[in-house]
Subunit: 341 residues, 2 copies
């Protein structure tokens, strides 16, 4: 199975990307990795870390797309960038099953839509990060920001795509789909969610459990949270903000206690460390971009080798589970149901 | 100054409401309170707490509106409810400057719009809770849920109303207004925020500082956060969710440490207590409903006497600062500016 890494996306490129590639080919049976980017530099890192095997291919690309560039312009003009070359490689053969980038989110999403293309019938692909929930399970949020002016029918498809992801990635049986709203009652919501609610309620291929409130996003009562991208982005960043605010205030208050605070902190150090690990969204891999023809994963800019490996594993698992084929089937099924109704 | 309390709204009515009224008339010079609700029961509580003064008026109302009722139906049909009678009393004379309810949010908002009425020129009144921020200051969020399908011109007015609130309530000079969006760059956002951005940018009476991201809502860099009610509600509940999740995970991890955890917790107890106080949104009073002709404050259902007192103080301060008059002036000014452009 051939998986592509954008070798020059993110803050720690290319070293951590290359190290992640080495780990991936060592740990995942049958996986080979293609890294795009400056060939000499990549070779140097491979040599620095003593890799002399034949499971890593380098595809030369001298340009780099930065976070400050307009995604559309960059994708169209920087044809020799590590990202565009990664997409072109992905398109070049069925052997390449997916690609991963830690680069500009906008450029990855634009590139995936323009270069890889949507699955037939999909209105809009969507970003779907996975969050750790309070029951030590996983909850997927779709859409986290790709579509800031969604229509009800997009949300209906997000529910199918998100459900297929959870089934393929975690073996979740009958993923519980909640619609993000301003209250749990059926009538709560805005014009968009009211219409989406009616669509979701009548879909046979998903397990729609109704409206949910953002405060319960990580309760573990939901496997898939469906919403417009502006709302999903707000939800995600507000969770981060809430957690970050509490952490800062707690630190301030512990420091105020002086020696007593220091001692107490030391006694609870392991607990704080575990909390950090459990609340660290980055440990759940990258955010998949669902609705395009191949597997595309966007991981955060500060990704290290471990994160890159977890993303390769993610693509590997999704490919083994044949997620894209199943997604196509279910999207088509829903469409034919619609026509019969 | 006469302020009205809905005596039978909320989980702790009427006891805590009546106790709050007693505290208010004792502490706030020149304030008298009118409590609506079952006269006998209110008299009983006044007598239980030894109040025999003449600063508390009782206005009999035998019905109660519950959280489960349709707000519109309840406001129209339960004419003898403590909430409707409170609104009718508020309308009956200019002497009554404002009212406070811990009852059904929907009913309070619907009642305020239908009974008290909008300030001339206001498209939509909005709910504006105040949150404690990381710089030990206050940040106002408008709209937190009254208008789930806002138009750009509503958001422009929210900015004026929110700014006037911060000036009147906290003496904030030139309140910094941020527009909740999916990125801080000017071009980030959806159809609604793009149009709102253009309006806000050209307004002379507010200090618009641009787009902001939900993760920075409580950073202290903003005094007023402007957004659609669906988005504001999601932001608020997600912050709550993030804080709540972190608290639960921390508790679990501390418990796992056994005796060591217990000891560490005891040493840090004061810090945890202070964190709880600082992150407790309820200490900043109730959420004002801005854009209606008189002061209307909705406080949470679990409000106790202290909360009720802080809400009466809030109405008292806003009245003394002549907020509604200033809001009217600035809304009119903006309108005449618009016409000139």
């Amino acid at each position: 199975m051939k998986i592509i890494l954008d070798g020059f996306g993110g803050d720690n490129a290319p070293v951590e990307i290359v190290k992640g590639a080495i780990t991936s080919v060592n740990l995942l049976p049958g996986v080979t990795v293609a890294i795009t980017g400056d060939e000499d530099k990549i070779k140097q890192v491979l040599s620095d870390y003593g890799y002399a095997g034949d499971k890593i291919e380098i595809i030369d690309a001298k340009e780099v797309i930065s976070n400050n560039e307009s995604p559309t312009v960059a994708i169209r003009q920087k044809k020799n960038s590590s990202l565009v070359v990664a997409f072109d490689t992905l398109n070049s053969s069925d052997e390449y099953v997916g690609m991963i980038s830690a680069g500009s989110t906008g450029a990855v999403l634009t590139g995936a839509t323009l270069k890889v293309g949507r699955i037939k019938g999909v209105f809009r692909p969507a970003v779907a990060p996975v969050l750790p929930n309070l029951k030590n399970g996983k909850t997927l949020l779709i859409d986290a920001g790709a579509n800031v002016d969604s229509k009800p029918e997009y949300l209906a498809q997000f529910a199918i795509m998100g459900s297929e992801y959870m089934k393929s990635m975690y073996g979740t049986v009958n993923p519980r789909v909640g619609l993000v709203s301003v209250g749990t009652e059926d009538h709560k919501g805005n014009a968009l969610t009211h219409e989406a609610f009616e669509l979701l309620k009548n879909m046979k291929n998903i397990n729609f459990v109704g409206n949910m409130e953002a405060r319960d996003a990580l309760s573990g009562e939901y496997d898939v949270l469906v919403c417009d991208g502006f709302v999903g982005n707000t939800l995600l960043k507000s969770y981060e903000g809430g957690i970050d605010t509490l952490n800062k205030v707690l630190k301030e208050e512990i420091l105020k206690l002086g020696l007593k605070g220091k001692l107490g902190y030391l006694l609870l150090k392991k607990a704080f460390k575990n909390v950090k690990r459990r609340m660290n969204y980055t440990t759940v891999g990258g955010a998949a971009f669902l609705g395009v023809k191949k597997l595309v994963v966007k991981t955060h800019g500060s990704s290290n080798a471990e994160t890159i490996y977890s993303c390769v594993k993610q693509v590997y698992d999704l490919e083994n589970a044949k997620m894209i084929d199943k997604m196509k089937e279910n999207l088509a099924l829903e469409e034919s149901d619609d026509k019969q109704n």
